[in-house]
Symmetry: C2
Subunit: 365 residues, 2 copies
């Protein structure tokens, strides 16, 4: 899923005043330009785009904050605020850029309006898996590009977890051929939605709270979300029992992003603590998604039928994606540049993945 609509359904409080007030108080106690001494307690305000303690993604941030406190002997406190408490869910990027908050946890693809290239950092339809994405960031140049481009917004990003492969969505009717997609109304945002549009689907956007009813009443014919663990909470199975395997979000990356000026004022020790704990959070979240998706899959209602999209549809999706990427590249030099780095890693990685992970999973049967 791209969770934009989900996030904006609850009240967007006018808390900007309160935020900036709190933040200035922080700044005062922490000094301004010099490195903050390790002995002094530092408190950072982190706003998320999720409801409080949202399973896996939200609880992952909660654990990250607790870990920072443990690692620092209590000198680094990260206060986590659920969406819309300090800042509206979809304004965390701007608020952090403007130093109204110190950090945020969200999804990178939400900010493609700021720079089209940002959608690539969030993940690519038919592209890299979570493990491959992380390898691109760490070893293939992804982090350098991300930090350079976020730097222009006074932001300093880390990977803050990843979902693993997401599912392709819930459909009211079985999709037996590419032709079956024609005219379907599907709630699917982002590049995946762009591709689906070219396959004849009418992609629509709906707030989370309205999806089930729309499906049930037939206002939409299909919706994607995340995977069994989180989808089960939404009740889609009752209205749309054909549950399709994934292709459009094989390794979505969540972000843990800091105000850059604020980041640079942190002590080297606090910086190391955040970096290390963000890696731990990423590994834990990847494993937690795997475990809880596996558990939830066992418990899906009996009427659910797991299906894979027809090969002709996936072939058409690959072609459509190429066209979309070419158009985006023509429009945005940044998109083109990040895509070149991404594709260079893809080209390097594929021959190895084909003979290692992919081949092994097929041998294992």
């Amino acid at each position: 899923m791209k969770r934009r609509e989900f996030l904006t359904t609850t009240a967007i409080g006018a808390t900007a005043l309160a935020v900036s007030g709190c933040h200035r108080a922080e700044e005062k106690s922490n000094g301004t330009s010099a490195n903050i001494n390790r002995g002094k307690k530092v408190t950072l305000k982190l706003a998320t785009s999720w409801p409080a303690h949202f399973p896996i993604m939200g609880t992952g941030v909660d654990r990250f904050a607790k870990r920072c406190s443990e690692l620092s002997g209590g000198t680094l406190e990260i206060k986590v605020f659920a969406k819309n408490i300090l800042v509206p869910a979809m304004q965390v990027f701007d608020a952090c850029s403007a130093a109204q908050i110190d950090a945020f946890h969200s999804g990178v693809y939400y900010w493609k309006g700021k720079n089209p290239a940002f959608s690539i950092f969030g993940g690519m339809p038919l592209g890299l898996t979570s493990e491959e994405m992380i390898t691109w960031f760490k070893f293939g140049g992804g982090y350098d590009l991300w930090r350079e481009l976020y730097g222009k917004f006074n932001l300093y990003p880390f990977i803050g977890g990843t979902t693993g492969p997401q599912m392709g969505g819930w459909f009211k009717k079985e999709i037996k051929s590419l032709a079956d997609l024609k005219g379907l109304k599907m709630r699917i945002p982002g590049l995946g939605g762009e591709v689906m549009k070219r396959l004849g689907v009418n992609p629509v956007l709906l707030p989370a709270g309205e999806i089930y009813t729309a499906l049930e009443r037939g206002t939409i014919d299909a919706t994607e979300w995340v995977g069994p663990a989180l989808d089960s909470m939404m009740g889609f199975a009752k209205a749309a029992p054909y549950y399709y395997t994934g292709w459009h979000e094989p390794g979505s990356i969540l972000e843990l992003t800091f105000n850059k000026a604020r980041w640079e004022k942190l002590s080297p020790e606090h910086q190391a603590i955040i970096a290390s704990a963000s890696n731990e959070m990423t590994l834990d979240m990847l494993c937690e998604f795997r475990y809880k998706n596996a558990k939830a899959l066992q418990k899906l209602p009996k009427n659910v039928q797991i299906k894979t999209f027809p090969k002709e549809m996936m072939d058409a999706a690959k072609k459509a994606l190429k066209a979309v990427l070419a158009e985006e590249s023509a429009k945005s030099p940044n998109f083109k540049r990040v895509l070149a780095s991404y594709e260079a890693f893809e080209k390097l990685n594929k021959p190895w993945d084909d003979i290692s992970t992919k081949n092994f999973l097929n041998i294992r049967g």
Copy 2:
């Protein structure tokens, strides 16, 4: 590879006296029973089973130690010693159990002589991948069992990195059928070797420094090692150009293990630092193996032919593995108990992996 022979080829110095001397000096400055105060500097001696700064595995430990220093503001120093400097490579388990060293980095499967169940914590032929193994440890009960059984040796283990999928090995002749294996001499240790034996192979053990010559002279017909990144250093391509995809080590786990009494005396902050940094090390090493294997694969000599074992051989390997596991379970209640936990997770994980990662990699093409 199981690296036992590799590790024991260089001189095994009689350094026990020096070690225990150093260690006592440490103990004195750190106090004995009370929690060590965070403000006091703690120095831990960590012995590895690898040559100094050995690529990926050794450098991973070096980075872990540096990270512990950064995270603790210099109060937690982990001194890393290459194999045979403080302790012979294959005696790190015993030395740490006896508190002659504080910690070690090695491979879990080396210690199956201590308890047959330990080989399962190291990984299983035709079993879980690295990401799946880590999920089993964290969410499926693996860590609880490992810590309980290592506790009997006064040890407290962490995952200390993982290799990702390893390759099946280098062969002088192509394997076109199960029958082609009959009578072949192959350097392959562990459960993989046990399975190969039942397929007609004569598994042999050879020190690392002798493998190439044995291959070149025809004393052996085949050898396994790790993957392109580390195998390239060994020159096997010249003597045995058929390079087979993997099945016997799909997700080998390395261990970062501490003397338990020593661990319990560390401050909660230092304990958190080690736990967090070990997770970071695990994620980094998994990605580094992926990246460097992909790079090395591109640069293999032109005469190398990548091959996959015949399906009938893999089918026979699955049957043979079942028999081996049944025999081990009958001999060892610990093996049986750990295997039950491992297999319960495998059963939970497989339906989800089949429709997510495996299915996606096949759709991606």
